[in-house]
């Protein structure tokens, strides 16, 4: 069996910025240097990978592409620390290393036949993107898809082109927001939990998936309950500092669950039992 601590080298096919600023977000579209890795690589929406550079380190990121997108993986990474700053220096043609896929996935098989509403905030849209893409690529298997997404400003919105395309094509209901008023912004102004109440998706035969800053998740979960969603209809992904990614090094636990192994995807029903889940 392959040593789970040894990463694969990937080559960058393309990069672009999703959002500007000190904590800018850059997307990397990569493929394995050794094409044969694709034969054994199987990931599902929600799963993660350790991403890094030998000599710098590695950190855990969700894989922001769906397995229905063939021939590449995507990672959307905010510049925050030593490793992400080094990754941000890289451009098309450069290489870095990836170890995974790690963790569990959104139960998209179970969701077949159901409506899905995603509620994202900022970079929290990254783990929701593969869910949306998976459903777009398996459209007949699912009911209505509805997207709710907000960020501080319109410039901070990730995946702008894809949202634009979805809206222009009228593919599904798509509700966008910015936290504060800006000129020529045609959509909602306010926080994501408020937008959620405005949109008020119906809970019947519907799954809600949310990810964003902890404070947003907290209020989104409360508001979903107000809208009649039961905890087993609601899913989110957690993150914590990680080192091994395979349930050994100890640090990423919330209560008795390892985020790296038992998660990152959890139902709200699971997390309600864990007082540390939203620490």
């Amino acid at each position: 069996m392959k040593n789970p601590y040894i990463p694969y080298e990937v080559k960058i096919l393309d990069t672009w910025y999703e959002a500007p600023g000190d904590r800018c977000i850059k997307t990397f579209k990569v493929t394995f240097t050794d094409e044969k890795v694709w034969d054994t690589w199987n990931h599902l929406p929600g799963q993660c990978a350790m991403v890094g550079i030998p000599g710098v380190g590695e950190s855990m990121f969700c894989i922001s592409s769906s397995p229905t997108e063939k021939g590449y993986l995507r990672f959307s990474i905010m510049k925050a620390g030593k490793n992400t700053s080094a990754l941000h220096e890289l451009e098309a043609g450069d290489t870095f290393f990836v170890r995974g896929p790690l963790g569990n996935n959104f139960p998209l098989e179970e969701w077949k036949g159901k409506n899905v509403v995603t509620i994202g905030g900022g970079i929290g849209q990254a783990p929701l993107r593969p869910v949306i893409q998976w459903i777009r690529d398996n459209r007949a298997d699912y009911g209505e898809l509805e997207l709710i997404y907000g960020a501080r400003t319109s410039a901070d919105h990730c995946f702008k082109d894809e949202f634009k395309e979805i809206i222009e094509e009228g593919e599904c209901e798509c509700h966008l927001s910015v936290d504060v008023e800006e000129e020529e912004w045609p959509h909602f102004v306010g926080f994501v939990p408020q937008l959620l109440m405005e949109v008020a998706p119906k809970p019947d035969n519907t799954i809600a998936v949310t990810c964003g800053p902890p404070i947003m998740i907290k209020f989104v979960l409360q508001n979903l309950e107000k809208l009649g969603f039961t905890p087993d209809q609601v899913y989110t992904t957690l993150e914590n500092r990680m080192k091994c990614g395979i349930g050994k090094c100890g640090r990423c636990n919330v209560g008795h669950l390892y985020v790296c192994k038992d998660g990152p995807v959890f139902s709200y029903a699971q997390l309600k039992e864990i007082p540390e889940a939203f620490a």
Binding site: P4, P54, G57, A80, K243, G247, K248, G255
Partner: protein
């Protein structure tokens, strides 16, 4: 086949025989006893209570290389644990062997940890029964262990005065007995029975205890209890309770690069009592104070670990009590949990 004994006069030559392996034994180091690799049998110090530092580092080194690389090169050279060779840990206490069998569950859960498991496969554990409990803070019997416990051991030695009674317990232990056969003699026929009596006597001398029944289920219900503030108030966050714990297994992974660009990715012991352990790159810390960190340490050992692996991650060796600089006592914490 008769039970064997190893005369104390022949311990030196027996250890000499075992020197063809990587031989680890207790030895004096400054004022304390630690396990170390010995080449001269005279270094071994078998007349000890328990080592200050548990022998866990011979399965799970304090720092170990995972792979080596040259910066900028795609080639990653995996560390080959096999090169460390067959290892015998001679004279460890039953609690420390039991600790290894508990930690084995973590390193073989879901993903196999190739480094740890290879090292365990290459290692034979020769235990030394505790004829006297080594410390006033021993409480192994509360956790399912015993001063003469054999869990995790391949061979048990019992000090009978002039000689050690030799009891192989596994195939590895039997193989080791064969290796040592030239140095062994037949033991008196009633020695095993005598050892059973000695075990009872030693168990009776253990002074501290905790009834663990119900603690794993109760702990999560005490999440916001004021006891966590109380029991962590004196904590300095030094981490000694975790570094000297034979079941603590948390680690960090770091890269080191020298001036020439040669580097290694290595892992090293880490401690849940440290602030950086859970600190996010964003600056957020889900366990910001020693209260949360102490709560996690106790919950991890006494609730989370048993919920996953059906065994409490504590063997009652007493080291965290003996060596805490501010006298924090895990049994006192557990008593407060029981009373809460």
């Amino acid at each position: 086949m008769a039970v064997k004994k190893l005369s104390k006069e022949k311990v030196g030559e027996a250890l000499g025989e075992l020197s063809k392996f990587r031989l680890i034994a207790p030895a004096k180091s400054d004022e304390v006893v630690v396990f170390k690799q010995i080449s001269d049998p005279g270094e071994a110090f078998l007349d000890y209570g328990n080592s200050t530092v548990p022998p866990k580092k011979f399965a799970f080194p304090q720092t170990e290389t995972l792979f080596r690389f040259m910066v900028g090169s795609p080639e990653l050279k995996e560390k080959n644990v096999e090169e460390e060779g067959t290892t015998v840990i001679f004279g460890l206490r039953p609690c420390d062997a039991r600790a290894m069998s508990i930690v084995d569950k973590l390193f073989s859960w879901d993903f196999d940890d190739p480094y740890y498991l290879k090292r365990r496969e290459l290692t034979t554990l020769v235990g030394m029964a505790c004829v006297e409990p080594p410390s006033v803070n021993c409480f192994c019997t509360s956790l399912g262990g015993s001063p003469f416990g054999t869990e995790g051991l391949d061979m048990l030695l019992t000090d009978m005065g002039d000689y050690y009674l030799v009891q192989p317990l596994t195939d590895k232990g039997k193989k080791l007995e064969e290796t040592l056969s030239a140095h062994l003699e037949d033991a008196p026929a009633d020695d095993e029975k005598k050892a059973e009596g000695m075990a009872k006597e030693s168990e009776g001398k253990i002074r501290r205890s905790i009834d663990t029944e119900g603690i794993p289920e109760k702990l999560p219900t005490l999440w916001d209890n004021e006891l966590w503030k109380r029991v962590s108030a004196a904590c300095l966050g030094c981490g000694i309770c975790t570094f000297l714990c034979p079941t603590c297994h948390c680690f960090d992974i770091q890269d080191e690069v020298d001036e020439g660009g040669e580097g290694r990715r290595c892992r090293m012991w880490d401690s849940c009592m440290f602030e950086e352990y859970t600190l996010h790159a964003s600056g957020h810390n889900p366990r910001p104070t020693r209260r949360e960190r102490t709560r996690n340490r106790i919950n991890h050992k006494y609730s989370y670990y048993p919920s996953r692996f059906e065994v409490i991650a504590c063997v009652g060796c007493g080291r965290c009590i003996n060596l805490c600089p501010v006298n924090i006592d895990i049994l006192d914490i557990l008593d407060q949990v029981v009373d809460a």
